[in-house]
């Protein structure tokens, strides 16, 4: 990567903050500067309903001062980048740090920083000047396509297009300093369908680092329309225990919930149900889960993490065996392990553990094939509510879906819950489909769980 003038300007601001922290008495410091520019438009029917443009900057300064038996830490953040404001905030950070307790584990990484910064295709320079009008046109096309599909689609929450550009600079008192630019574009359509007294909504979306990576706008609208139409006439079903199939929209949430229980913080705080399971079988042998921060053009990619460590490919679960926690520098030290390059950080907070591009390896068979293999069961197309307890693995969420009889979808289902324990659910995955589509930073193919309790009438 080559450095641009704006990046040099950002690096000089970070340099100033690091100097100010040092002058104020910090023995270690690191600074993150995020500059972003966002455009967002929404079209509902034929009307432009909303247009938003914004520029934002956020500077986060972490200072560590020597205390008795460890370092004392504080974090301050501001959007005021005037030199005197930076000096003042750095001073406040040091004063705040002195009021906290020394922590023998605290500190910023001393080495291992990213040296080679690969070009990860995080933005397309040609997209930089995308006009509001062009994105309004995308939203219009999605909205029109959704409404053309069927006369029962006569209303919507609108179709929304967004384009965001960010520049990130990170530097620390060990001499690491680097920057990268990224972009993220999206298109989202949410039509409503009506049949008699029944009204339903559903959505479809696409997101990518470049405009050319987005699904065609009309296709987004049409797929949203198809999803909402098939929800019309939804029924409740009696309480039962059946095989449950998650589609490519709902399966990623299971992967995200499992992986949140692999965070080093959840492990040393004993708040993960997987705390004692490293190296053991925690899932069916069909399950392989990977987090990789260096996939070219992917939405979760970045050349270095929130502490300047190189991102990498982390094998988390292979054929059901738990291979690794996800760690930043601090949680790694707590567990006596090196960072996995998984520090995630925003300008307003300290580092914590996050995923990059997280997915479950695909298996065989399309969603239709997986449906055809089920004699009596449920396909889950949307989940609502937060019913997951990471400490115990207990899982119970509201669901919307399609009822399957003899390998065919027979009717939509609503006002039901599905419940189990996430650990048992992963052990009971007995089918993994072949379709892996990225719509965000986490992706999973369709998954079948052999049996779950479905609560209904």
């Amino acid at each position: 990567m080559t450095r641009t003038d704006p990046q040099q300007e950002m690096e000089s601001i970070v340099e100033r903050a690091l100097d100010a922290a040092k002058r104020a008495g910090a023995s270690q410091a690191d600074v993150l500067l995020v500059q972003s520019e966002d455009r967002e438009v929404r079209v509902r029917g034929t009307e432009i309903e909303f247009v938003k443009q914004a520029k934002e900057r956020g500077l986060g300064i972490r200072t560590l001062v020597e205390g008795r038996g460890g370092l004392q830490t504080a974090i301050v953040s501001t959007s005021d980048l005037a030199p005197d404001a930076i000096d003042r905030m750095a001073g406040e950070a040091v004063a705040l740090a002195r009021a906290t307790a020394p922590d023998p584990t605290a500190g910023i990484p001393a080495d291992g920083f990213a040296t080679d910064l690969p070009d990860l295709a995080l933005f397309d320079p040609g997209d930089r000047n995308v006009s509001l009008e062009a994105r309004i046109d995308d939203a219009r096309r999605a909205e029109a396509a959704a409404r053309e599909v069927d006369p029962r689609i006569d209303n919507s929450e609108g179709s929304q297009a967004s384009s965001g550009f960010a520049s990130i600079t990170y530097g620390n008192s060990h001499g690491f300093m680097s920057s990268y630019d990224s972009a993220s574009h999206g298109l989202f359509s949410e039509p409503l369908a009506r049949d008699g007294d029944s009204m339903q909504r559903d959505y479809w979306m696409t997101a990518a680092r470049s405009l050319s990576g987005l699904e065609d706008a009309a296709s987004v609208g049409r797929r949203a329309a198809q999803r909402v139409l098939r929800r019309l006439g939804a029924k409740r079903i009696p309480t039962c225990e059946v095989p449950v199939l998650f589609d490519g929209i709902t399966a990623p949430s299971l992967i995200g919930q499992l992986t949140s229980c692999l965070s080093g913080y959840a492990i040393y705080r004993e708040s993960s149900f997987l705390k004692d399971r490293l190296g053991e079988s925690i899932a069916s042998d069909l399950v392989t889960i990977i987090d990789d921060g260096r996939l070219p053009g992917a939405l979760g990619s970045k050349p270095f993490d929130g502490e300047g460590q190189p991102t990498r490919r982390n094998l988390l679960v292979t054929s059901g065996r738990l291979e690794s926690w996800l760690l930043d520098h601090y949680s790694g030290r707590k567990l006596g392990l090196p960072s996995t390059g998984s520090a995630s950080r925003g300008s307003g907070s300290g580092p914590h553990v996050g995923t990059t591009n997280l997915w479950l390896e695909p298996g065989e068979g399309s969603l239709d094939e997986l449906i055809s293999e089920i004699d009596r069961g449920l396909l889950v197309t949307e989940l609502i509510g937060m019913g997951f307890n990471p400490t115990t693995g207990d899982y119970s969420r509201g669901a919307v879906g399609l009822w399957i009889e003899k390998g065919e979808i027979v009717h939509p289902v609503e006002e039901i819950t599905i419940a189990g324990n996430l650990g048992d659910m992963f052990q009971q995955i007995d089918r993994v489909g072949s379709e892996l589509v990225w719509r965000g930073r986490t992706a999973a193919p369709p998954l079948r769980i052999a049996a779950m309790t479905v609560a209904g009438e």
């Binding site: 509902r44 009307e47 432009i48 309903e49 909303f50 247009v51 443009q53 914004a54 520029k55 934002e56 830490t73 504080a74 974090i75 301050v76 953040s77 501001t78 959007s79 005021d80 950070a93 705040l96 740090a97 009021a99 906290t100 307790a101 922590d103 509001l132 209303n155 919507s156 929450e157 409503l192 029944s198 009204m199 339903q200 909504r201 939804a234 309480t239 705080r269 004993e270 708040s271 907070s349 609502i384 509510g385 019913g387 400490t391 207990d394 899982y395 119970s396 969420r397 509201g398 919307v400 609503e414 006002e415 039901i416 819950t417 599905i418 419940a419 309790t453 609560a455 209904g456 009438e457």
Partner: protein, 488 residues
């Protein structure tokens, strides 16, 4: 707390002085900025200036490992024409907001304007609901650090099975200034405090979490009273230990009794969101077009009230400068009102209700709830429990969600018990309740006399914006609600 405080000027007066002294935002500069937006033919423009300091200190493993201070400042500029809104924001808190205002208006309107220049009119707010002598962000960090240490020691001494304690104190002081093309000019200073206590109980084989928090718009000193914070810790410890012994939750349809206070989240999810003006103006809510119809049992009255002194969901004025008020949503079972911001009120031909809220200057206002609760009834809570043969008693909840259009809502219990022959039975874990918003309150068959408001920890999410809210409920019985557990 009282509504008037003679010892200092009102929050509105202090807020105006703050922006004028620090950022030179006087009436003339505000009018100039608004005039720039009005160069195009639009209906309305407003400016929202914000300067917010948020401090937090957090303890784990017996020590306060970090202190955080977050300063957020900026201006949001909005131009409105019909259903169209143009919005722009900048972290440059000055009258230069005028420059982006022009661009915002251009995005939604092409016609040059014929409107007269803006005349800023001073507005006297009707409330001063959260006067504080000492801003929570001015409480010394050392005081908070020492207090967290006491919480940790107290929690660990309660029971040897408590193996982890996480506690935090979050203090915020938010200054806002709102100016609009109709002449509105109003400021406010909003304090907000919150304390969180989470403990982990372990009996060697099982581990469970217990959480309790409290907060509101008042001085931090209110929570520093040992009787108050020790009760919170007691509660967190009790719930964690209780859940160690909890059984799997039954699944299926059964009669449910909700305890007083925080279970009011039911009203928020099942009813509240569906009565927000935007969804009803667009006819995307399951409650659209149902004003005047029965949506709840007789005796059920639901209120949204932004004027309760010191409450987490209260506001002197909403984020568009409209004074908050007490809004009756459901009166004796009949739907009588929606919650409105200015845009949706105008398009629906009704008055704004003081519910236009936004997370920050970086967000557009939306119709949102404040403090939402059901009025007390006549029934004795003990008698309500005795009236159920077999069912579920849900006392506390972790959170919920609703699909506005289908009306289906869900919420997850963090403390619940079986009811067996009118008696509270074994604790159960992982209970999720699911139902249909327009229908669920018609199944309310008993209403207790014990209305309670929650402890002040609620945050509501909508369109990616989080705002502090309150809820409240008396003990109620709901007939035939679906409970999602694992025991079929």
């Amino acid at each position: 707390m009282s509504e008037s405080n003679d010892s200092q000027p009102s929050a509105a007066e202090r807020g105006l002085a703050f922006f004028q002294d620090r950022f030179d935002l006087d009436d003339r500069s505000l009018a100039t900025a608004l005039d720039t937006a009005l160069e195009r033919e639009i209906d309305y423009a407003d400016l929202y200036f914000e300067y917010t300091t948020t401090d937090s200190v957090a303890l784990e493993e017996g020590i306060v490992k970090s202190g955080d201070r977050h300063l957020e400042q900026g201006v949001g500029v909005r131009a409105v024409k019909g259903e169209r809104q143009g919005y722009a924001h900048s972290d440059d808190l000055s009258v230069d907001g005028a420059k982006i205002a022009a661009g915002t208006a251009r995005a939604i309107a092409n016609e040059p304007s014929t409107q007269a220049p803006v005349a800023i009119a001073s507005q006297t707010p009707s409330h001063d609901l959260y006067p504080v002598e000492l801003a929570p962000t001015d409480v010394p960090v050392a005081t908070k650090v020492a207090w967290l240490g006491e919480i940790d020691a107290y929690a660990r001494a309660k029971d040897s099975r408590i193996t982890q304690v996480m506690a935090s104190i979050v203090c915020q002081q938010k200054h806002i200034l709102i100016a609009a093309s109709d002449g509105t000019r109003v400021a406010d200073i909003l304090p907000l405090v919150r304390i969180n206590v989470q403990v982990l109980a372990s009996d060697g084989t099982k581990r469970e979490i217990g959480y309790q928090g409290a907060g509101g718009r008042f001085e931090l000193g209110v929570l520093q009273d040992p009787a108050r914070w020790q009760a919170l810790v007691d509660e967190a410890v009790r719930v964690a230990l209780l859940n160690l012994d909890a059984e799997p939750c039954p699944a299926g349809t059964m009669d449910v009794v909700l305890g007083p206070g925080w279970p009011g989240i039911l009203l928020h999810e099942a009813i509240g969101h569906g009565l927000e003006g935007d969804f009803n103006r667009k006819k995307t809510s399951a409650f659209s077009g149902r004003l005047g119809q029965r949506v709840a049992s007789e005796g059920v009255t639901v209120i949204d009230d932004g004027t309760l002194p010191g409450r987490r969901g209260s506001l002197n004025v909403d984020d568009e400068g409209t004074p908050t008020q007490r809004n009756v949503l459901i009166e004796n079972g009949i739907l009588v009102g929606y919650m409105q911001d200015r845009l949706n009120a105008k398009l629906m031909g009704v008055a704004p209700t003081g519910n236009g809220r936004r997370e920050s200057y970086a967000h557009v206002p939306l119709p949102r709830m404040t403090n939402t609760f059901m009025l007390a009834g006549q029934d004795d809570p003990e008698e309500i429990l005795k009236s159920v043969d077999n069912g579920l008693y849900a006392v506390s909840f972790a959170g919920g969600q609703v699909d506005i259009t289908s009306g289906k809502f869900v919420f997850s219990a963090s403390e619940a018990y079986r009811i067996e022959n009118g008696r509270i039975g074994a604790p159960v874990k992982g209970a999720t309740l699911i139902g249909n918003g327009p229908d669920v309150l018609t199944r309310v068959s008993r209403i207790g006399h014990d209305l309670a408001l929650d402890e002040g920890v609620g945050t509501c999410g909508k369109d990616g914006q989080g705002v502090p809210v309150g809820v409240g409920l008396p003990t109620i019985r709901i007939d035939a609600l679906t409970v999602g557990g694992t025991q079929g």
